[in-house]
């Protein structure tokens, strides 16, 4: 839950001032864009898959109540237990209660955005339950008390040097720089945690209503460990994660792997249907599934923005976004970043505190073009903006008045060639105080914000309109 207003501008200015981060971001977004593109071009049915996935998701959100009941029934049939949580507090309480009832001391967690959203770690740790993130990136982030930077690769903002120092400090090992060695250290540390854990917590990528199967997708194997070794498995899912039919998983699994990391298939996919069966030698003895609402059922009600719930959390929109590429994940102020963060954060939280986010888009639509479930981002952005403006209208706002005047002047000047030319001339003379290398740097208030981060091209003595006219003077009238 967000308690303080997210100040996107302030956050992004901070991020922009960090050159190391900038390099990491460019490197990361370039690579993930390229590998996604390649993976997508390999299969001819890509567009069909997207259409089908969107159709399925539309159907799911429309009938979400009956699908949830169906899923609950299926889970119960296979020996699992379903818990309904209307918000973060309830979900955390449910998990803590299961832990308490079973005397759980050590919990291993695999990566899950839902648990980030409800800040489950903090809740459990404050109640004396050791809770360890086991995805390598998340583990690094947890060791430095930081927040994930990206929903797929949480620690891209850390360099190898950072990590090797961190490991050396925490585990008393030499400062290795080779990633493979660092990974080996993490393997050893975390393996011990797995073998002593009494409970594993995971997220859910997809949950099949008809069979009660949950799908968990990953590359490292930590989710397999967390859902196999400990005696209790608790999975937490946002209520939108449902897929009606078992065989429809094939569509979503293909889309997810290729969109997220450009892989043909993620290294591991686990399809888990209930706890271990009689006679089996491993697998959890208890299986719990927590349905997390936390604002989602409200989104489902909104005709204009409910498609935000179709998201399968692949991160493709984040990687393609020209704004994310500059400002990175933390600027968005909450667990979800990039375009999906900019639409989902305001809808799952107080709109007043998150009103900056729907404006963090140039509406270029690149996110819509890559999204495997074809979320029409520009549309969602605009309707959220509309809502924000409408809410703001209810109170008198001096800024709105100023804006009106500014736009009136702008409109007048730009709609009449005469005014336009005239203003151009005036500007040419006025600009002499600010002009440097044919650029305007540091304009005075109220224009200073424009030139804070970039320079403005100077007004030319010989503007295009004049040159155009001159060129055609000889031949007679210039074409307009």
């Amino acid at each position: 839950m967000i308690t303080k207003r997210i100040d996107f501008k302030k956050n992004s200015v901070q991020a922009l001032a960090n050159p190391k981060l900038k390099k990491a971001l460019v490197n990361f977004t370039d690579r993930s864009r390229a590998s996604r593109k390649k993976a997508v071009s390999e299969i001819s049915e890509w567009e069909d898959l997207r259409l089908e996935a969107r159709r399925i998701k539309e159907q799911v959100i429309k009938d979400l109540d009956s699908y949830l009941l169906e899923l609950e029934e299926s889970i119960t049939r296979v020996g699992g237990k379903v818990h309904w949580a209307k918000d973060a507090e309830e979900a955390s309480k449910i998990v803590a209660t299961i832990a308490k009832e079973n005397n759980v001391r050590n919990v291993v967690k695999s990566k899950s955005m839902a648990t980030e959203e409800i800040e489950l770690n903090k809740y459990l740790i404050s109640r004396g339950i050791n809770t360890v993130e086991t995805d390598l990136g998340e583990y690094i982030v947890q060791l430095c008390n930081d927040h994930p930077f990206h929903i797929i690769t949480p620690a891209i903002h850390k360099t190898k040097e950072d990590i090797s120092k961190l490991f050396s400090e925490k585990f008393g090992v030499p400062e290795y720089e080779e990633p493979q060695k660092l990974a080996n250290i993490a393997r050893k540390e975390l393996r011990e945690k797995f073998l002593s854990a009494d409970m594993g917590i995971s997220g859910v990528n997809f949950a099949v209503a008809e069979t009660g199967t949950i799908a968990i997708v990953e590359n490292e194997g930590n989710a397999r460990l967390a859902t196999t070794y400990p005696d209790i498995h608790v999975a937490i899912m946002g209520i939108e994660k449902i897929v009606p039919k078992f065989e429809q998983l094939s569509i979503f699994l293909s889309l997810l792997a290729r969109s997220a990391t450009g892989q043909k298939s993620s290294t591991y996919v686990s399809l888990i249907t209930g706890p271990r069966r009689e006679g089996e030698r491993d697998g959890p003895r208890q299986f719990h599934l927590v349905f997390l609402d936390n604002g989602r059922s409200q989104i489902a009600k909104s005709e204009e923005t409910k498609e935000s719930l179709y998201c399968i959390r692949c991160g493709a929109c984040i990687n393609i976004c020209p704004i994310y590429r500059q400002v990175g994940g933390h600027s968005y102020g909450w667990v979800y970043s990039g375009p999906i963060g900019a639409v989902i954060t305001p809808q799952l939280n107080d709109l007043n505190k998150t009103a900056d986010l729907p404006f963090v888009s140039s509406l270029c639509g690149a996110c819509r073009d890559v999204c495997p479930v074809k979320i029409d981002f520009p549309h969602v952005f605009l309707s959220l903006r509309q809502k924000i403006i409408e809410q703001a209208r209810e109170k008198p706002n001096p800024r709105e008045f100023m804006e009106k005047i500014a736009f009136w002047i702008w409109g007048t000047v730009f709609s009449k060639p005469f005014y336009y030319n005239f203003m151009g001339k005036i500007m040419f003379f006025l600009q002499c105080f600010y002009r440097k290398d044919n650029e305007l740097q540091r304009l005075p208030y109220p224009f200073s914000k424009w030139t804070r981060d970039k320079n403005f091209p100077a007004f030319s003595k010989n503007p295009f309109r004049e040159r155009w006219k001159k060129k055609y003077q000889v031949k007679g009238k210039a074409p307009r």
Binding site: D65, T97, P179, Q180, K264, S265, T267, I272, R277, G279
Partner: protein
């Protein structure tokens, strides 16, 4: 802990959405059967090998005259270990290996494979009383014995096959694992590292 009111509340919220009749599901089998794929079993095997190697997996084809036991013993010798954990199902039933170690302390886990997917290079393994999950997960090296005839062209074909296999989904096993190469991560500056949690080497023997 049960929050009864929450269930009612969530369902109430959702019921106030616009209703339409549920649409009827179309079959997906034919629509997503990519034309580029090989359809004969030799072609599928080649595709599988190519794709599995592309994700840093290792593939060996069992020579005609050699027994599986001999082949596996070669690996054990090469890796200089006897700490092996293995299944005793299907082709592994006749395996003559003396020691069977707990997967947590084994150097090598040997399992069968129920299906494989050619166009992604994926092994599909079902869990049951004779097929524990940890054998393919805890040891640093996983040897998987794959029957050539169980390779299917793509993931859509696989799900159709799984559907037939289970007839009615009530009998679905507790865990189906898809394994596409060794455990990997790119969490440290996007460098590919293998074996961070699961096996760092996955060796497939095709029989």
């Amino acid at each position: 802990m049960i929050f009864k009111e929450s269930k009612v509340l969530i369902l109430q919220n959702l019921r106030s959405t616009v209703r339409e009749e549920k649409s009827v599901k179309k079959s997906i089998e034919s629509r997503f059967f990519s034309s580029k794929l090989s359809i004969n079993q030799d072609g599928l095997q080649n595709d599988f090998i190519e794709n599995f190697k592309a994700v840093s997996g290792e593939v060996h084809i069992l020579e005609k005259k050699k027994s599986l036991t001999a082949k596996i013993n070669e690996f054990l010798q090469e890796l200089d270990t006897q700490a092996v954990s293995f299944w005793r199902t299907g082709p592994l039933e006749s395996l003559e290996i003396t020691s069977d170690t707990d997967p947590a302390s084994a150097d090598i886990g040997i399992t069968g494979v129920d299906f494989a997917i050619a166009d992604t290079g994926t092994l599909v393994i079902l869990s049951n009383t004779n097929q524990p999950r940890l054998t393919s997960l805890l040891p640093p090296i996983h040897i998987a014995v794959l029957k050539k005839e169980t390779i299917v062209p793509n993931i859509h074909a696989l799900f159709v096959k799984l559907g037939k296999f289970y007839q009615n989904y009530n009998k679905l096993c507790s865990c189906i694992s898809f394994i596409t190469g060794p455990s990997r991560t790119a969490d440290i500056e996007l460098n590919l590292t293998l074996g961070v949690h699961g096996p760092g080497r996955v060796i497939v023997i095709i029989i």
